[in-house]
Symmetry: D2
Subunit: 321 residues, 4 copies
Amino acid sequence: MKLDGGVLIANITPFKDNLEVDWNEMARRTRDLASIPGIQGFVVNAFAAEAPALSHDERQRAVAIHKDNIRPGQTVVAAILDWAPPSTIRRGEEAGEAGADAVMVCSPYLSAYNANHSPEYAFHFHKEVAEGLDMPIVLFQLASGDQLSYPHEALVKMASEIDQVVGVKMAQAADCVRYDRDYYALKSLNKEIICLPSVGSTFFHNLSTGGDGILSGLAAFAPYECVEMLNLVKNGDLNRAQALHRRLAPLCHAIYGFPYADLHTRYKEVAYMVGALSSPVLRSPQLRMKAAELDRLWRAAQIADLRPIPGADETRPRLAA
Amino acid sequence: MKLDGGVLIANITPFKDNLEVDWNEMARRTRDLASIPGIQGFVVNAFAAEAPALSHDERQRAVAIHKDNIRPGQTVVAAILDWAPPSTIRRGEEAGEAGADAVMVCSPYLSAYNANHSPEYAFHFHKEVAEGLDMPIVLFQLASGDQLSYPHEALVKMASEIDQVVGVKMAQAADCVRYDRDYYALKSLNKEIICLPSVGSTFFHNLSTGGDGILSGLAAFAPYECVEMLNLVKNGDLNRAQALHRRLAPLCHAIYGFPYADLHTRYKEVAYMVGALSSPVLRSPQLRMKAAELDRLWRAAQIADLRPIPGADETRPRLAA
Amino acid sequence: MKLDGGVLIANITPFKDNLEVDWNEMARRTRDLASIPGIQGFVVNAFAAEAPALSHDERQRAVAIHKDNIRPGQTVVAAILDWAPPSTIRRGEEAGEAGADAVMVCSPYLSAYNANHSPEYAFHFHKEVAEGLDMPIVLFQLASGDQLSYPHEALVKMASEIDQVVGVKMAQAADCVRYDRDYYALKSLNKEIICLPSVGSTFFHNLSTGGDGILSGLAAFAPYECVEMLNLVKNGDLNRAQALHRRLAPLCHAIYGFPYADLHTRYKEVAYMVGALSSPVLRSPQLRMKAAELDRLWRAAQIADLRPIPGADETRPRLAA
Amino acid sequence: MKLDGGVLIANITPFKDNLEVDWNEMARRTRDLASIPGIQGFVVNAFAAEAPALSHDERQRAVAIHKDNIRPGQTVVAAILDWAPPSTIRRGEEAGEAGADAVMVCSPYLSAYNANHSPEYAFHFHKEVAEGLDMPIVLFQLASGDQLSYPHEALVKMASEIDQVVGVKMAQAADCVRYDRDYYALKSLNKEIICLPSVGSTFFHNLSTGGDGILSGLAAFAPYECVEMLNLVKNGDLNRAQALHRRLAPLCHAIYGFPYADLHTRYKEVAYMVGALSSPVLRSPQLRMKAAELDRLWRAAQIADLRPIPGADETRPRLAA
């Protein structure tokens, strides 16, 4: 897997009113998003996709549909969330059979675990997965402060010592110093590690330090803005990047704000508001937003003034019912 | 499910050197533990059992083996750890078919989730599970400070408003004030909620406030001491309870100490040291203790001077290889 | 300084409506409290006394007044809160000149300081103070989680290696395991360290493990209950201690509950409600409680049903205006 | 007080080997630093100056010396750290008499205080100070996560509702999103609030969002680099700002890294290493760095390759003894 200044979309799973996956919508939206210049591929079955609520068969089909609808040169990364290395390997193999080019291994959850205090669990988990799975691996660095967030040294050690690791989803979130420390260290290794900022509220800051692209659920409904931010920073256009950062700030602060667990629901609601998704229907355990929160997202989305994606629903923007 | 001052053992899964479950050992140990006066039953497939590393079929067989080896009047509770309510319901139903009398629903993990900030996720998760699963439910209250730990109000609301909730695994850990607040509130509801202290280092304090029994992995190798603590406090014998608390303190502080993620591994190592388990072999993602840590556990276990369980291996106590 | 199962009252400073210290009230209340069997002395100029809002001269006079109004055998400990060791020494010397028998050195505040990460600051601070001040020193162990709370090892090291340290105010608060670890370690040193539980919500639990007395602002208005808890636990009367713990729990949970910064204001409000103080007037930076909070304290105080102190205002209990 | 793209130096106090303040050195260094284009003035008696270890008279003299050695148009801000509003007012008045143009009120420390949980304390503290002190006030926003750090809403309310507040020391540190939220909100008020990034590791990110200057102890020994970063960002020169950010990163990550309490000691050590200070002697409670840490700072300082300040000691750079 290789990224040269492009955007990977952590795609959102559309559901029908009866809670079945809307496969036609998934195919259509994927095709439309894939047509946008600067889009490098998709991450399937991530949290943005509500993967914890998808069945095994649904996850497999999601990978296949994305594979079928990308353009030449684009890539499909399958996110894997599992409890133990052997089952993670099996899920990775299955994703590969369904067409995934690489896997993104989510930060494992262990009981009573704090990755800062017990970083060796994370290391051995990924090492065992890598030994059993013949695919490129993207690590998932969570927000600083999250119990499952790898400490700096552990992240660098995994990237350095596990051959199959090719990149890192950089979701350090608000902690820009942590991003900088991780980025500089990952880029000083004797192997190439692609670093992909993931949290919209810090794209500008992260990319200003340095970055190889973007990997985010935000790109499912703001792909043009993600590509634009990448290009502005790459071209050294600080003033226009600063202005774009400011314009997106209210939306990003709403989406990535308190409480953080609503993040993936907010992705879906905003995608629906701006016409990038035909329905905001969720599966549990996610919950719909309350009206006041929807209203806040709506106002922020108006300020952001996102460019409609190809095939966007005509009645956009609209306030979710 | 009903507990009258008894102990539920969160059982430990024995593995052979080839990492297969040692079903004979599981059956034998369960039978031996079940013979101890004061043992009320077993919790199967909890973290102490390394359930995240067990397959579906293994979890089913573990329930069945426990069901086959308990004594009349004893109970089998199946712990369920899953991502979403519908799959939690299915796993609960399967556990029921295998012989479980009740389920213990582990605190759900959601991405970017902090249960203190978003308690409604926990509530709706359990509510949906309860609506789809015709079994008694035990809630799992984690250590204060854990991201997945329910805030007081959410715990009380779940216990109060979800009919099938019959009890709470009280693992508030070091935070005795939180235990007290939860306990007093749960006991003031218009329904019976059994409260089961779970963390050995605070059994004395928790039971001194009040408690209906014990639910703990500690009981898999210190069943006599768990029963004794229950009885001493029930009988108001503060001096002897204080002395027992002091004697167990070094072991409990080692087992439940920093880093907390090693807790379940330490259960297994100590169970092996004292002859309650024939092997300390673990499955990943758990990792073996380092020698210095084993030595620390060993010295603490000698102070604790645990009474051997029936059928304990003769060569106990012993230092793990 | 020596304590044998007695109570040290962290006294509250009474103010007149014009915000001057009410010295007559201070003398009278001190005399009345000192007459209660089991009261061993007073801690003056602690946070309960709003010492940060007192001038140098007021702090000196407060020490002198307490010295003048205690009974034979009782002790006066002066709390010292200062930024640097040399000025702490001077304040300690002045307190000694005013009549203090010992000093309690409050946990020093340094910019950007976290005592868990930089325990050497705490150690050297106290060591330098001890080298320059010829008085017994009581350490102040704050609630676990507070930035200024000493880690276990640092506390034990200070108690062990600094000769003048004779005792510890044990305000570990909700974290009973931390109390236990600290207590067992402090009691295993080759010198006597008196351990004084300080947080009312955990007196029962702390003393059940072990303790040499109580040091608390709670004792300024609930002295009989503090003495009673000490005696019940000392006598091994678990059932009556449990019942007293339960009766005091709503009041203690309100006083020591969220937000914790209101603790000292709540002391004063409740002292006024139950007639142990003639006015709840505060100096800034403390703020009066809101009506809803006062109402909550009032209801909790009624359940606690505290025995009136000698000379209690007749119209008690009463709701603060 | 007004800042137009300039740098305020939080100055460092030089001590002689006998721990007396070296007033000649203070005057000389102040004069030298004041001569650098882009330097707008000085903050005196801040934590960088070890103010907690200075006496009243020393703080007054420090203000006067700075006043005597600045250039026309430059400003002197006196930092005030105190326990209560009335004494803060007195210290502010005294600073004014000594020549200060404005005060920076440090975040007040209260026992058991967490500013996130009890923001009203911070508000009323500053409001009372403002009512009693006829001077411009700079607020001090600490690092996110610090117990004394104001929540966003409280900061904005203080800036908005307290007339005398003219600026904010923006030390949100690693939390760039918090800086952005604060900055955008402060700049949208109906009054001018100058926002001064203070933490070197995030100058680039903070200024890229927006900022009116810099207020930092880093500027006491890296004044040219602070001015350069300001100018590069102001001129939209992303590439050169990015390169400067990268060059300074190892030094900034060392100075502002773990443990954070060493920050002010590190300022002094590095100032000494690079010849900007004649001695690294500290007063307690600060402690000298250990050799390994000094070595780390030294290597980072070499990478940073700071431009010598006027009058820098010739033998620079040098490793502290």
